[in-house]
């Protein structure tokens, strides 16, 4: 009887585990809880493997980070951390394409701005002019060993020192027809730029999709893997998962992660589990 109970318990646990995994997953764009192609679960997994610290809700940011990476930030919540990193001579890397980072850039005193726009190019990596190939145009330590990068529906940057630019056969596809038309001038557009702020450095990337899982699912994507490795290659790298899209979750996943991120939630869960085990022993189920 006990064996059958154990098997039943095991099955229940497996079912609960599958349900838990399902409830924790989301399809929110760039969410780190999104294991799909448009999430950043793969990137965050890679970051943790490379020793980066993921700053998630409920955890305190590290004080001595020399590199702080924000993906599609929204609002100015990250300002104190970013200021601290810049004051310590570190680098703040911001990847954004819908202009949500402009507010943060402004309060940090950065001149660079993300200009939302549909940058397209005749130099395309895939069968879509929005998969833009761009070349490194200036030296920077995060671009060591990087020559060509592939972007995925990027916007462009005004201001700062251009580090990576599109080819001259590129345009802002206002009408979305995939070809340069009236008012869509061919020219070079800046996709990665940097700006010195005090002792630190801000690097702005006009495409948060560089960190999307779909970009990791292509075997050969020029120097994109090298760029990601370079970005994570520093003494103390902190990747933000609080103030931007990586923290997003929808539906049940939102509730699950809200509860999980609450400091007391772990204690409650452990307590409940202990209660269940104690009950099982008391009723001689186990």
């Amino acid at each position: 009887m006990r064996i059958s109970l154990l098997i039943a318990g095991l099955l229940i646990l497996l079912t609960l585990g599958a349900m838990g995994a399902h409830l924790q997953a989301t399809n929110a764009e760039l969410s780190r809880f999104n294991p799909g192609w448009n999430g950043t679960a793969v990137f965050f997994s890679l970051a943790e493997r490379n020793g980066a610290i993921v700053h998630s809700p409920g955890s305190s940011p590290v004080d001595h980070a020399d590199r702080y990476l924000l993906i599609a930030p929204d609002g100015v919540g990250a300002e104190p951390i970013a200021r601290g990193v810049l004051a310590g001579g570190g680098t703040v890397i911001i990847a954004d394409e819908d202009g949500g980072a402009n507010e943060l850039l402004e309060v940090l005193g950065v001149e660079m701005r993300i200009i939302p726009g549909n940058v397209s190019s005749a130099d395309m990596e895939f069968a879509s002019p929005r998969t833009v190939r761009a070349q490194v145009s200036s030296n920077h330590s995060v671009l060591t060993g990087v020559e060509t990068l592939v972007f995925n529906r990027p916007s462009f940057i005004e201001g700062g020192e251009p580090l990576v630019r599109t080819s001259v056969l590129s345009w802002i596809d206002h009408d979305g027809d995939g070809s340069p038309g009236s008012g869509e001038t061919l020219g070079r557009y800046t996709l990665i730029a940097s700006e010195r702020i005090g002792a630190g450095d801000v690097i702005l990337i006009a495409d948060a999709s560089l960190f999307a899982s779909t970009m990791k699912q292509v075997r050969r994507l020029h120097d994109n893997p090298r760029l990601v490795t370079n970005l994570l290659d520093s003494d103390t790298v902190m990747v933000d998962a609080v103030y931007g899209r990586p923290a997003d979750a929808e539906g049940p996943a939102y509730i699950v992660h809200t509860v999980k991120s609450a400091p007391i939630s772990s204690i409650i869960v452990i307590f409940l589990l202990m209660m269940v085990v104690a009950f099982a022993f008391r009723r001689q189920i186990l």
């Binding site: 760039l30 448009n38 130099d123 895939f126 998969t131 080819s167 001259v168 056969l169 070809s179 038309g181």
Partner: protein, 574 residues
């Protein structure tokens, strides 16, 4: 057993019908059974799902910009060699230049950049191409005149000497016009090129070389004219005039050329357009002549005309052909064919080549008819293709034009289309319907003859133990006497409602009487084989078959006969 047997009969056809309906519903989707693919979920507002897109790795800038520089380089060496009168090398340069220009044109179309700065560069280069082609041909011809001049002077042929002089004059005028045109767009061309970061030094050098070429041709022609007039003064007793109307023409216009012969002699007149014979005619009795020329395939720019008649030469008036815009439409005619119209304003462009391009690759060259219409088949593989039509023949005074992109569907080959499109689908439907009909027929066939058997089974073998206990029913063994015949009782019970079933009871009784081991499953043939020498029994069995299987209508007399004969046969057995 009884419930199963009864239940299965209506269920099977129902299932068969359902299966057939399902098959019919899914048959149209059989060719493309995929309901979901990763490609159907391939992009959001922020990203493309690159892992499902075709990786093309196109570095078009790496092709286009060097190509532009190569075009400039070719034009530089071309003008240099023309200037040096090395026409063999110049011809090679021109071929190279034209090939690269064509490659660039196709690239602009392939990249769908017909509204971009790249198109502006292409347009300017197309004009340069016309000028350089013209410059090469005219300068080469101008150089040949030197040889002809010496030849005619040696032959003491003043008419031909004047012809050489006039042709030289015409060529000088055209070369000057061409160089002016080439030089005139250099600033614009340089500006556009610099926006792309293209090196323009070879191009600006070619403009300088073209300018010096024009100056040298001017000097040479001046010298030639002076010399010819010195060695062969014009006839004083005879002259010919020439006039043109209008001075500027466009494609489709009529240029009127008229003049008059003054003096005695032949009335024959020859008109030369750009030093090439245009028309041979005869003047009227008063010496006037008239020719109307339709402007068709003739280059843009200045052209010269002169008339000659029996040693008299006219002046060399010039007229200008102005370039006109064109419009080009393209439409799919189905089956991999296209049609379209090429117009210059409202004027159809006739006998003009229209190239059809798919992804920048020419797949057909069609020729317009008198109405400017063209039609034809494309050399394309099966499937969908986006094609454009292009008209860019610089021999016409017409601007290049491109049609809108058109989707052309090339159907599968005729054989497979015949099977797949016409026969296959109806065939599948027919097969399914036939299967359905066959299934129903089979089930009905199975159920019809077995109904009596089932009626017997209902009463005898399938009964439960309790039912047997309560109602023993008729035995399958032959009855011992007429009054205890359970089959007869069953017959009478059923005769009012289902006569064939009732008759079946009698048949089973006779089968049992014939000594067959399993009367309920016996056939008419079994009884006949068992009792081969009983004609009355055979007659009863034949009548029985007609009723049961032939569907014969039964009258009361027939019923009486069946029963009487049955009783007789049973009595006989007893």
């Amino acid at each position: 057993m009884r419930r199963d047997a009864k239940g299965s009969l209506p269920t099977l056809p129902a299932v068969a019908v359902l299966i057939c309906i399902v098959l019919l519903l899914i048959t149209p989707h059989a060719a493309s059974p995929v309901l979901y693919t990763t490609k159907s979920d391939s992009f959001t507002a922020m990203h493309d799902r690159v892992s499902v897109l075709r990786q093309v790795s196109q570095d078009n800038t790496g092709i286009a910009l060097p190509l532009m520089e190569e075009i400039f380089s070719s034009s530089g060496t071309l003008v240099l060699n023309i200037n040096l009168r090395d026409f063999e090398s110049a011809e090679r340069d021109l071929d190279d230049y034209l090939a690269r220009s064509r490659q660039f044109d196709n690239m602009v179309v392939r990249l769908d950049m017909s509204q971009s700065d790249l198109e502006e560069w292409r347009r300017l280069n197309a004009q340069n191409r016309e000028d350089l082609t013209s410059l090469f041909e005219d300068t080469q011809r101008f150089s040949e005149l030197k040889r002809l001049e010496i030849e005619y002077r040696d032959a003491d042929n003043p008419d031909m000497l004047y012809s050489v002089m006039y042709e030289g004059e015409a060529l000088r005028s055209r070369i000057k016009e061409t160089v002016t045109s080439y030089e005139g767009r250099s600033e614009e061309m340089t500006g556009v090129s610099e926006r792309f970061g293209v090196e323009t030094t070879p191009y600006t050098q070619s403009v300088d070389d073209a300018r010096s070429l024009s100056v040298s041709v001017e000097d040479e022609q001046e010298e030639r004219s002076t010399e010819i007039r010195r060695v062969a003064p014009p006839r004083a007793d005879r002259s010919i005039t020439i006039g043109l109307e209008p001075a500027e023409v466009r494609y489709g216009d009529i240029l009127t050329i008229s003049g008059r012969i003054i003096g005695s002699g032949s009335q024959d007149v020859a008109l030369y357009l750009d030093s090439r014979l245009l028309w041979n005619g005869t003047a009227a009795s008063d010496g006037t002549y008239l020719h109307r020329m339709s402007i068709g395939m003739i280059r843009t720019g200045m052209h010269t005309l002169y008339a000659t008649s029996d040693g008299a030469f006219s002046d060399v008036p010039a007229f200008r052909v102005i370039r006109s815009p064109t419009s080009l439409t393209l439409a799919s005619s189905g089956g991999g064919n296209v049609h379209g119209v090429l117009l210059s304003g409202d004027v159809p462009v006739r006998d003009a080549p229209v190239r059809i391009l798919s992804a920048g690759r020419p797949v057909a060259t069609l020729t317009t008819d008198a109405d400017g219409r063209f039609t034809g088949a494309l050399r394309l593989s099966e499937g969908d293709h986006r094609v454009v039509a292009a008209f860019d023949d610089h021999r016409y005074p017409l601007e290049p034009s491109w049609s809108e992109e058109v989707l052309v569907h090339v159907p599968p080959r005729k054989e497979s289309q015949g099977v797949g499109g016409i026969i296959l689908y109806p065939l599948v439907v027919l097969i399914l319907l036939a299967s359905l009909g066959g299934a129903i027929w089979y089930l009905r066939r199975q159920s019809s003859p077995s109904e009596p058997r089932v009626s017997v089974m209902e009463e005898r073998p399938d009964r439960t133990e309790e039912e047997h206990a309560e109602d023993p029913g008729p035995e399958l063994s032959p009855p011992t006497d007429e009054y205890g015949d359970p089959f007869l009782e069953a017959y009478h019970a059923a005769v009012g409602s289902d006569y064939p079933a009732a008759l079946r009871h009698l048949f089973i009784s006779l089968a049992g009487a014939a000594g067959l081991p399993d009367p309920a499953y016996a056939t008419v043939g079994d009884i006949r084989r068992k009792q081969p020498d009983d004609p009355r029994l055979h007659a009863w069995l034949s009548a029985y078959e007609r009723v049961l299987y032939g569907g014969h209508t039964i009258t009361d007399a027939d019923r009486d006969w069946f029963l009487a004969e049955y009783l007789f046969l049973r009595e006989e057995d007893a």
